[in-house]
């Protein structure tokens, strides 16, 4: 038995861990062509089992702990069909011969991606093994490969739901470096602030030194009536009261300069932070608009909004607050340590004694709080979820008189939260007394050891007092450095998310040599176009057609047939997988996106109005439009009359939080918006689907004006809407099944005729 030779299908790598018992079952002259290991055995328990194929046979080998292994041995030539069954929590591969059928492999959904190409590979082998090559299709079921997206393609790590980018392929330190690189353009500002920070910290630490001089050189000698002449740096010999005045002045200067420097520093650093986040926010938002619709489909809107606001804000907080605090703390600790050792090395060691305890306690409590807070945040999220769910649905709650139940539900969640909060509060309230006890431990030691030294004359009183002063300033920074890790991590996560957005490349983008699309006539051609949102699930398959300028095409078919996808492709919201789409002979992938979309007008089923005036909304696609044009467009769209009825006419504010317009009114505004753009290619996606008959008539009238002389693609479920169409395309499962005029298609007696028949029946029911 030799290893796989080179013409073996390379889709599936051979399993490397084949058990010798399984190999022993194969005759020596047969070559293994394919082997795959699974994670569920044929008896339904977790464990490794294998499926092997040689050029002669298909062998399933599944060990059984208690007894002999389960073995299925089928001659390839006898295999009639292979079938992958996508079950509720697992998958199964079933093989059939003329007389029997057997499950030959079970696998968990984790292996879906691995098993997806298997039937095809096996089919190839079966064909080769058969004496006569017939064209019969052996495959029955297939697995889609969409599951791949949930795991990183590089390392196999699960990708968090709200992220979209593999977190382990992002490196934290690189992240931070990259983030700090944003401060490069502001380096003079950054350097100045750092210098001020350094000087300010140093100055801030001098008062205890002054205090030592005050006590040792001025007050103590005076109290004991010792020497009169005192020698101070920069001053020379002076009297005790002169020295006192000098020291007080010094302290004053220190305090004044420290506070001034502090003010300047905090302004400069804040400015730096603001500048950087401004740049970042701008860049993220700009990038968001460059990204194609695919990006938005894969993520939830809230998550994207949070990147722009919350995550960028957190980074700013880290930069202007966290980072400077960290630097200051490190500086403070270093300076105090060296001062303490300079003052009295023997005592300094005692000060450091409680430090490990403080570090340990802080880290321990930090972890514990984190463990308590994580479920707590989850509970908070649960409460917000209830609110987000019930408040918008309050009409349903009231209509079904379920207020009590909603209140109970909320209260039980609220109670859970209360318990969690209380647990957190207990830990928290334990934390600060413990910390202050640990810190006071240092004081105790110094009082005892230092006090003894002063008594033993080996340390001056001033040194003792200075020591105590420094010690108080020492533990704070230590504690806060211990909590840094958490802060750092939060900033890194935020940076990760922000860079995730920035690193996403638009699927649809201008080619480097993209040309401007010249003014078009509206000739649209599809050449063998195929497209799938998810690999393996084609939505449009090998679609070809030509539309002449000015023609109106009605698109009909069942929901999910691919109608909306088709028009998305014309707008190039997505990139097609195969074939090409030509507008006036230009491949739309070779022209600038903007120049294409400038000449395409879209009216959607649910018109979206932005916050702003009616006039702003009409002129959205052409902000430079004159008031004449705006009114003309509104008139053409049958919208003028109702607009004039609004309290502020064209200046009325519409949008989410303003004047409530009916669906028909909003639709007419969006038609006016499209008319004003004067596009050569017009797309109407269910533009009248949710209107009553009268409104629809008004809109139809407006649309009739709009489509004149333009290439139009109109999708409609109500076929009467399409009566003006020159040709109808009937789309079924991504294919163009029927094409022709209404009469032709009715005569054809196919899908369209059936749809028309059903709708006239419905019409009759309505008429009753």
């Amino acid at each position: 038995m030799s290893e796989a030779n080179t013409d073996t299908d390379p889709i599936i790598p051979l399993a490397t861990d084949l058990p010798p018992e399984a190999l022993a079952l194969l005759p020596a002259e047969e070559t293994i062509r394919l082997s795959i290991s699974t994670d569920i055995k044929l008896d339904g328990l977790y464990g490794s089992a294998w499926l092997l194929a040689t050029d002669q046979r298909l062998l399933a080998f599944s060990p059984d702990d208690g007894g002999p292994p389960d073995i299925v041995d089928l001659a390839l030539a006898e295999v009639e069909s292979l079938e992958i069954q996508d079950l509720y929590g697992s998958g199964a591969l079933k093989a059939r011969t003329k007389t029997t059928g057997q499950t030959i492999a079970l696998f968990s959904k984790t292996l879906n991606a691995k098993f997806a190409p298997l039937p095809e590979a096996l089919e190839k082998l079966v064909r080769q093994a058969r004496p006569i090559d017939d064209d019969e299709n052996i495959l029955r079921g297939r697995l889609d490969r969409a599951y791949l997206k949930r795991r990183c393609e590089r390392c196999g790590q699960v990708i968090p739901r709200r992220m979209g980018v593999c977190p382990s392929c992002l490196e934290s330190s690189k992240l931070l470096n990259r983030f700090l690189a944003y401060s490069l353009p502001y380096w003079p500002l950054a350097v100045t602030s750092l210098a001020i920070l350094l000087v300010g910290t140093f100055i801030g630490l001098t008062p205890p030194l002054l205090l030592r001089t005050l006590i040792d050189d001025v007050l103590s000698p005076a109290a004991t009536g010792a020497a009169n002449a005192i020698s101070l740096p920069l001053l020379g010999p002076t009297s005790a009261s002169g020295a006192l005045a000098y020291l007080v002045l010094g302290l004053l200067l220190i305090n004044v300069s420290r506070n001034i420097l502090g003010a300047v520093r905090s302004y400069l650093l804040a400015r730096l932070g603001e500048q950087i986040t401004f740049d970042m926010r701008r860049q993220v938002y700009r990038h968001l608009h460059r990204l194609s619709l695919n990006f938005y489909n894969d993520r939830d809107t809230g998550r994207i909004m949070a990147s722009v606001t919350h995550d960028v804000g957190r980074l700013q907080d880290f930069l202007s607050d966290g980072l400077q605090e960290t630097i200051r703390n490190i500086l403070t600790i270093l300076i105090i340590c060296s001062l303490l050792f300079y003052l009295n090395a023997g005592l300094a060691i005692y000060v450091l004694l409680p430090t490990p305890l403080i570090v340990l306690a802080t880290i321990h409590f930090g972890k514990r709080l984190h463990r308590i807070y994580t479920p707590l945040w989850r509970r908070w999220a649960g409460i917000s979820a209830i609110l987000a769910d019930v408040i918008p649905g309050v009409r349903v709650v009231k209509a079904f008189a379920q207020e009590h139940r909603e209140v109970d539900k909320f209260e039980s969640r609220s109670k859970d939260l209360l318990q969690g909060e209380l647990r957190a509060a207990r830990t928290r309230s334990l934390f600060s007394p413990l910390m202050s006890f640990l810190t006071s431990l240092g004081t105790l030691i110094i009082w005892w050891v230092g006090g003894n030294k002063v008594l033993g004359q080996s340390m001056s009183l001033g040194e003792f007092v200075a020591f105590t002063g420094y010690m108080w300033q020492f533990y704070g920074p230590v504690e806060s450095l211990c909590r840094l890790n958490h802060r750092f991590q939060r900033a890194a996560t935020s940076a990760e998310r922000v860079f995730e957005v920035l690193d996403s490349q638009p699927d649809v983008d201008d080619a480097p040599d993209a040309k401007q699309l010249p003014s078009i006539n509206g000739h649209v051609e599809f050449r063998n176009v195929s497209f799938a949102y998810e690999p393996g699930k084609p939505v449009i398959e090998n679609l070809s057609f030509t539309v002449e300028p000015g023609e109106m095409i009605g698109l009909a078919g069942h929901s999910g047939a691919g109608k909306s996808t088709l028009i998305n492709l014309i707008c190039r919201f997505y990139e097609i997988d195969e074939g090409s789409i030509l507008v006036d002979g230009h491949d739309i992938r070779e022209v600038q996106l903007r120049s294409l979309r400038d000449q395409v007008g879209v009216v959607l089923q649910e018109p979206f109005l932005f916050n702003g005036s009616v006039a702003d909304n009409i002129a959205y696609g052409k902000p430079e439009a004159s008031l004449n044009e705006i009114i003309a467009a509104a008139m053409a769209a049958n919208a003028h009359d109702f607009i004039c009825g609004l309290p502020d006419g064209y200046d009325s504010i519409v949008g989410e939080r303003a004047v409530r317009l009916s669906g028909g009114e909003r639709q007419r505004l969006s038609i006016a918006r499209a008319i004003l753009r004067n596009p050569r290619v017009l797309i109407l996606d269910e533009a009248t689907a949710s209107m009553d008959t009268e409104t629809e008539a008004q809109i139809q009238e407006a649309l009739a004006r709009l489509v004149k002389g333009r290439t139009t693609f109109a999708i409609a479920h109500r076929l009467s809407t399409l009566r003006n169409a020159d040709r109808l395309f009937i789309i079924e499962k991504g294919r163009l099944e029927e094409m022709g005029t209404h009469d032709e298609l009715v005569a054809l007696d196919g899908i369209y005729a059936r749809l028309v028949h059903m709708q006239t029946e419905m019409g009759r029911i309505r008429a009753l």
């Binding site: 569920i40 464990g47 968990s108 984790t110 968090p160 977190p167 989850r378």
Partner: protein, 170 residues
């Protein structure tokens, strides 16, 4: 006179006493109802896979057309009941977690190491909030990152260590 409308008449229930289910040589499930042709390659669908797994089993043809609903497994003859139970067990693979050894978190992705009634298993969860469902009486349903399903019948009955680990997640 017309019969008054009864909502439950809408149900397409199969009479368990005249319904027979068995596996044929192809290991496909076959449905035989008195007065109808036998249907092969039946797919079984639980109408309430979580709250009432053994009641209201819908039987579909392989073309996903519903043939009828069996309200109660126990009303079937023993052979049919066995055949149906086997078909259900095969279609609904949801091991029960019997012990949780560790839950480690990396990049906000919890990785569970557990023992189940089907053997030991390690899996990752994308989002604890969405993929872990806590039902009444401590019952927990878990969907892992790849779409596999697991169940803890009552997490409060797990051993102390497992319970503490689960409690942190739910």
């Amino acid at each position: 006179m017309e019969k008054p409308y009864k909502l439950t008449d809408e149900l397409n229930l199969l009479d368990a006493t005249t319904t027979r289910l068995y596996h044929d040589d192809f290991d496909d499930l076959v449905l035989e109802v008195e007065g109808r042709d036998p249907e092969r390659g039946i797919l079984v669908v639980r109408c309430f896979p979580i709250s009432a797994g053994d009641r209201f089993i819908a039987l579909h043809t392989c073309k996903e057309k519903e043939l009828g609903i069996l309200e109660d497994l126990s009303a079937l003859d023993p052979d049919s009941r066995n055949a149906l139970a086997n078909a259900l067990a095969r279609a609904y693979f949801r091991p029960q977690i019997t012990a949780v050894y560790a839950i480690t978190e990396e990049h906000h992705i919890p990785r569970w190491q557990v023992d189940t009634d089907r053997g030991p298993r390690t899996f990752e969860i994308r989002s604890s909030r969405r993929d872990i469902r806590v039902l009444s009486q401590g019952r927990v349903l878990i969907r892992d990152a790849d779409g596999n399903q697991y169940e803890i019948p009552n997490y409060r009955r797990l051993d102390v260590d497992s319970r503490a680990l689960v409690e942190d997640q739910v």
